[in-house]
Symmetry: C3
Subunit: 364 residues, 3 copies
């Protein structure tokens, strides 16, 4: 098949080969920064370029394959070692194990946690967006709302009665903040967010299109159909919580749905009513947690995993991708499979079944 | 790790220990109601407090751990028996099996279906939201739309030509009702809903962000790329249908996509074109039904299950969580696993494989 | 249970028995077209009605069970052969294998690819919607935006500074196009779409509620909590890409997220940062692709499948429904299961396990 020949693209989209991050149409880059400062900020050790080359001022960040001698790159995954060999980057952030593999012309910034160092340096060049205080003339704000003067409110945002919004927060275009909602300081509410029956701490980030505070899926079965159970709890998002695009968090039925401090939810995640999640949990995209389930602190739930309701997941437990969890999970344990079982058991089952099936059938 | 020390929260979020439902910022509580009335409404039998305590007027509802002597609670799940022992609730709705476990100071309202009784009593204190007739000044309404004078239309809602909306319906902020759509009486269309090519019965509830009536995923493969197949059916949502937040229902390609009366879909559910669903089906969050599949009445599809297209699911069938259904399912059968199989077979397979694998490997 | 008796529906929803597509409230039908033209457009061979009946002008399309003698239908799936026997359709598009089964009064249009012929004929009667040039008076357009005069912009759409939009494009109600975004010619941006940090080719179609260009899920773990990694890449949607309702595509972290020409994503799909997808890939609903994974051309990913990050999927590979892919997949291979394995191996495993388990337990 010869598909879509001769495509002509009006805006001249760049090739994927040597793409450069930080397109000026979308991003504003700080800097330059000097080597000493970069090392200090990232808590890394400077190892000079073997060739003696000594550039001292750096203007930006880029991936290994695109970085120039004035830019910083990093290596965090062995899969990309071939790109390291070819890089022109002025600086490479790297773990001690691979420092010998850095090209002769590059300076190494060495640390046992290169991705953390990268986060710090990238944040130096691209600091977090700040609120541009002011209310867009098209926004609708109820006069009883209590909004700090430093808040930024985007086009067509709706802020209903008795809402409170703390200093430095940003309310995106088309966000709807329903009656009585409270939002702390330095929060960022994305475009098209629906937010009701909720109390938010500080620095909470809601991505576009997430739905927070709607009724949970609660009804009783009667002879004349389903009877809705009023959902009279709230959603509590504590400090530093982030919720991904188009994710949904139902409010509690009779207690609160709570997301603990610093927890991060990816896109298209579902959180049922009364779920209570501890601090610094991670829930990857398309995972779902059913009603009244409780998570401890530092729990990780990988993509597309599902948890039934009314169970308890201990601190530091890790739930694998696509895992189906039907019962409590102990602290620090790692489970995968549907139904969930320890990682070791799951992969043992897979190996044994493959062996037996091969023997039984002897196909080719 | 010591994360996020000394968090300060501007709005003084209450602790999770003794949370109380019905936060006045978000909910309005009716009442008080007396014991006789509560018993009548909920069709339950009064069993007096063993201590002789006799409060007769009740002001609200709460979970077992938070309820006071003027409040009503319920027990519906054995897991929470320890909370029953400690409760201060004035009334506990409970099944005959556990009535002896109700504390001495509490009145029991006894029924074989405590959750249904709970639904009725909770609805007494928190009745369904009614339309506040009127059109928000920021809404855009096409002059050809036929909207009952009792309808409530929220900020920035868009109502396109020839739309009809029946009495007592509520159209949320930022909802977009496309040309020709018909909405029955007492419907509730959530904020940010997209609704096109659809006919809705009465009392239909659409949660925020659901997408109803867009093109299905239909295209043919040709030498010059994919050719879109026009989707010229509709979406029919019959009386009392509910569709969860951010769920998607594609319109039919050449017949209609139909959701039968009283059926309830949770959040992030996907319904393909031409799906036809009977009465009172339940589809739990993140489940998906592919194009042209037909469901009978009272079918239950648990979370994250997936059904391929062009199959038939019989009345009262139950599809387990994460189930992958590739062929027809008979009435009243219960299936789980991917590919789907009877519950009994699935759990037998799991047990046998575990046993064999343990033997083969003898790991610890 | 007798549920929901005597439902009365104000708007008289038609029965499902003889539904007819193309409801005039929602669709405008072209035509009539004569037989020769239909045959030419669809590249099919005319086989006259055995009864000698000879209608030559046709007014529309319909499914087998509803089509009249002036209408065209098609058969593409053996499951529907019983409907073919009963059809009153004037024309049936059909493969050579079934041409004998067409009723005596119907003309057959014969082709080895009936669904493709159907797509072409249906598109004749229902051509693609064209932009009605003009900007809705309620839309907010930044004066620095460069919008072709032929563009249609819907109610309450938001177009931020320096956006460019090519000729014939449609921007739906409530869409938000953030700063610097470039949209090619003849694109269609659905209602409630959020679009940022993105460059779109021509004829790109975004369905309602999809989220394009938000931050990816990137953060490093430190002693004081998670540190967000700035996401400074873009999203590139090449010519003819389509993205389903409520799907989410994160922008790149340091390179671009790229969807290749002609690729089609269904509803509720998640695409992580830095994913690079080739031409004419298909991603069915609720599937997810984790960060930095690369797909070749013509890859098919079925519903609810999940791919981990940093892997490579070869051209023409097919990933089955609910598949969990944890490692590279070779070109042209078909995998299914979690973890992914060849189709043949998967179904062999299923069969062998069932046999062994049955033997072990001998239940009934």
């Amino acid at each position: 098949m010869t598909l879509l020949q001769n495509p002509v693209n009006k805006f001249n989209i760049v090739s994927t080969k040597d793409e450069h991050p930080g397109d000026k149409r979308f991003f504003q880059c700080s800097g330059p920064f000097d080597l000493e400062h970069l090392s200090t900020v990232s808590d890394t050790k400077i190892v000079a370029a073997r060739s003696g080359k000594s550039i001292t001022s750096f203007t930006g960040i880029a991936p290994l394959q695109a970085a120039t001698e004035c830019e910083i790159s990093f290596l965090d995954n062995k899969r990309y070692l071939p790109l390291l060999a070819e890089t022109k980057a002025g600086i490479v952030i790297i773990s001690p194990a691979f420092v010998e593999k850095v090209p002769d012309d590059s300076i190494a910034l060495v640390t046992s946690r290169p991705y953390l160092a990268w986060a710090k340096i990238a944040s130096l060049f691209y600091p977090k967006q700040k609120a541009q205080s002011g209310i867009h003339p098209t926004a609708f704000i109820d006069p009883t709302a209590d909004i700090d003067s430093s808040v930024e409110v985007g086009p067509f945002a709706v802020i209903m009665p008795h809402v409170k919004i703390g200093k430095g927060s940003i309310i995106g275009a088309h966000a709807v903040i329903e009656q009585g909602v409270e939002i702390g300081d330095y929060c960022c509410i994305g475009s098209h967010v629906s937010l009701s029956h909720a109390l938010l701490g500080n620095r909470v980030v809601l991505y576009p299109g997430c739905r927070i505070g709607q009724d949970g899926f609660g009804f009783a079965i009667s002879e004349s159909g389903f009877i809705t159970v009023p959902q009279v709890g709230r959603v509590i998002l504590k400090n530093d919580v982030e919720v991904g695009a188009n994710s949904t968090i139902d409010r509690g039925s009779i207690r609160d749905t709570i997301i603990g401090e610093g927890s991060r939810l990816d896109n298209l995640v579902q959180i049922g009513h009364n779920v209570q999640m501890g601090r610094c949990c991670i829930v990857v995209s398309q995972a779902g947690i059913s009603g009244s389930t409780q998570l401890g602190d530092f729990v990780t739930i990988a993509a597309q995993a599902g948890l039934i309701g009314h169970i308890h997941i201990g601190d530091h437990a890790r739930i694998g991708a696509q895992c189906g969890v039907m019962s409590d999970v102990e602290s620090k344990s790692d489970v995968i499979g549907s139904p969930a079982m320890p990682f070791r058991e799951f992969f043992r089952n897979v190996a044994v079944l493959r062996k037996i099936a091969k023997k039984s059938y002897k196909i080719r």
